[in-house]
Symmetry: C2
Subunit: 194 residues, 2 copies
DNA sequence: ACTGTCATGTAAAACGTTACATGATTCT
DNA sequence: AGAATCATGTAACGTTTTACATGACAGT
């Protein structure tokens, strides 16, 4: 059900088409939330039906049109309500730690290879996060820039600081994962190579 | 699909009934994987149908019986294959960080209250993890004890070390979350109270 | 007798993934 | 002319959650 709130959150910045949203979801928003096109378009339709969003048809090229969605007052109220409601504690479901607990069932080389892959994944992820964080700090991030354009400096500062705070959490998590992977290599060396 | 592998993993330690498994899933295994009864029982049946598990009817009380499941050779082969296969990179879907990025939409007191709740959650979670880790170190953890009873000392040491390694990862993650929550309090104080 | 634990599910709904489908527009 | 991007979905399937359901056994 949080997909809804992720969509409203994005659209509070500026009106967007399903396609714009879909691109955001595969770029910066993807750090916090992932969703494919096939989930986004139907959800936008349902949200419009439920009165959380409104859309305007915008001409595109010679004959085409596209639908630009914006958040309604009802949508904003719903969003604020969610923002103030307690978080439901998230269920743990973590294949990486599940596997790690049973590494003795796999060949050491296979484990090492998996650690290398996870390391590559988290390093790339971390680089993306740090890149995006930098665009928040200098306020060049496009969605953020659009969002704070309407705000006064105090409000803008607040908005920016919370975004950076969220990214700092994600960056800390990535670093923690990388440190754990390093420990994994060390453990393998100790258990099998010496 | 990982529920399957979580179930095999547990059952490699010792044979269990659906109820035993369900209890494990709401205690120690819950740190890595959560699943309700209504998912466990049907999945056990499917796994038996697919030849990954075998079951024996064990008498229980005067008339009752219970089904004790154990892993078949086919199940073990399937598990090892999964253990050696690369991890599919997990999709991010994180309401806590999504919310944090938009804290400016909520009243500071509401945010503070949520941070307190998350702090309580992670502190409790951390205490459980550290408690369980201690039972791994002294080998008093019941499932672990049953598992290593059949192994020689070298194999037992390997098994125990990997379990501890998995828990160390979870503990590091919990500490990272708690540090981030602390930063959240500090940020709120700076942005609203001074 | 009553309460808590042991034991095992079904059913419906919600959520998410994967694969497929189509066509216009813009850039090179 | 062809490739990349913009634009918008449907369909089938698999996974997860939530709510409901039932009854035997064990300890007080």
């Amino acid at each position: 059900m949080s997909l809804r709130y992720a969509l409203i959150a994005l659209l509070t910045g500026r009106p967007m088409t399903g396609y714009d949203i879909s691109k955001s979801f595969s770029r910066s928003v993807a750090h916090v939330w992932h969703a494919p096109d096939s989930q986004i378009y139907p959800e936008l339709n349902r949200m419009e039906r439920d009165g959380l969003l409104d859309s305007v048809e915008v001409p595109w090229g010679k004959k085409g049109t596209k639908k630009e969605y914006h958040v309604t007052d009802a949508g904003l109220t719903t969003f604020r309500k969610w923002m103030e409601a307690p978080l439901v504690p998230q269920r743990q479901r973590d294949p990486a730690h599940l596997k790690a607990a049973y590494y003795d069932f796999a060949a050491p080389e296979a484990v090492r290879e998996q650690l290398r892959q996870q390391q590559a994944y988290w390093e790339e992820h971390l680089a993306m996060l740090e890149g995006t964080r930098a665009t928040l700090v200098d306020r060049s991030h496009p969605t953020l820039a659009a969002r704070i354009a309407k705000l006064d400096e105090h409000e803008a500062e607040l908005t920016v600081r919370f975004k950076i705070y969220a990214y700092d959490g994600l960056i800390a998590r990535a670093r923690t994962e990388l440190a754990w992977i390093e420990d994994g290599f060390a453990l393998l060396d100790e258990m099998y190579d010496s």
